[in-house]
Symmetry: C2
Subunit: 191 residues, 2 copies
DNA sequence: GGCGTTTGCCTAAACCTATTAGGTGAATGC
DNA sequence: GCATTCACCTAATAGGTTTAGGCAAACGCC
């Protein structure tokens, strides 16, 4: 009986590829077993269950995304950094739609706290050091940037902006312009 | 044989309730049949299949959301209208998390075009009439607002901002302030 | 190099969910 | 009062998930 050489890491990686090919919600223990030419039950020696598998794929995607972001941010500041971070999310979603979906999976609090998710928040906060925001405003701005990037990418991926002029690249750069302007001139609370 | 009185509308409505209770991805033909105390196969006289059922729930949610938005926008303009629209999305997601998830379902283009989704875009555009934006910029701004609202609500729902100070209500109002300021002073393209 | 232990994969079986085909009986319409 | 339609049924197939228990290859050890 030849062994297929399954490991948790290989399963997660293959699951991520499968997600990009057929969509994250189509990633199934059965499909993954087929891909390794192995019986379904064999996977259960490596992952606890279907949910566990999905979680591992999500963690992989978060890690990849954070690594890319760290690379892209190296040596950049201000609007340059802002555009770089946004670009990383957008490009990753286009190249790896299934992984990007996976990164959106709801994790339970402890798992989330131990994930690369915290690096994402740290990097966003680092970008804001290039702008002049005091502490509570910095948090508000972190949340705004998270919302815009996540919201834009997921709407664009879902075809929300599809086939309407002007094209989405133009909108994307103008949104980055707008965010930069906003951060350079963050308004005081409305009266 | 007593009849349960199934119709497509009742199925969609019950499916929406079920979604709010157990999550949209747990809405299954089987669970819905149980709820009506009817055999699973009976539902197939009313909906084509599981996907069809989900789509109908999504369309219901989009319609409800658009109705609420139209109500909230009546008689408002400018920042008032902006806050009202955002509030509708945020409140709906909190009251009806399953329906809100459903509203995010990817629809095929023809279905989307016939859905209440177009009313949402129209309403967002209507709000922008209170600001001074020329045509291509209006589209960019529509997309920005869509991104922020959708992104913020889905991150907040997913616990993305959880247990960190300051509280999310504060952030929400400051984001509305920021968007208002941005729209009143929309920047020209960066050089 | 044989020997026990661990490890990796298997078979088998139980249990969900989705979907189709082919009924039956109650309500409806002329 | 009969035909038709409609609402629901039984039965069967096909996949996905998960657990229990088994066997054989690989590993550690003397």
């Amino acid at each position: 009986m030849a062994r297929a050489g399954l490991t948790v890491e290989r399963l997660a990686r293959a699951g991520a590829e499968l997600a990009d090919e057929v969509g994250f919600d189509q990633v199934t223990v059965t499909a993954l077993a087929r891909r390794f030419d192995v019986k379904v039950a064999s996977l259960y020696s490596h992952v606890k269950n279907s949910q566990d598998l999905r979680t591992r794929i999500a963690l992989l995607a978060l890690r990849e995304l954070a690594d890319r972001a760290a690379d892209a941010l190296a040596g950049r500041a201000g609007k340059d950094a802002l555009a770089a971070l946004g670009g990383v999310y957008r490009d990753y979603a286009r190249e790896h739609p299934g992984r990007y979906e996976a990164a959106q999976l709801r994790l339970d609090p402890e798992t989330a706290a131990a994930s690369a998710g915290v690096r994402h928040a740290q990097m966003t906060r680092a970008i804001l050091r290039g702008y002049d925001l005091t502490e509570p405003d910095q948090t508000h701005a972190v949340r705004l940037l998270g919302s815009v990037f996540h919201g834009y990418v997921s709407l664009e991926m879902g075809g929300g902006f599809s086939h309407s002029a002007p094209d989405t690249q133009e909108t994307w750069t103008r949104i980055l312009d707008a965010l930069d302007a906003l951060l350079r001139n963050w308004p005081a609370p409305a009266p």
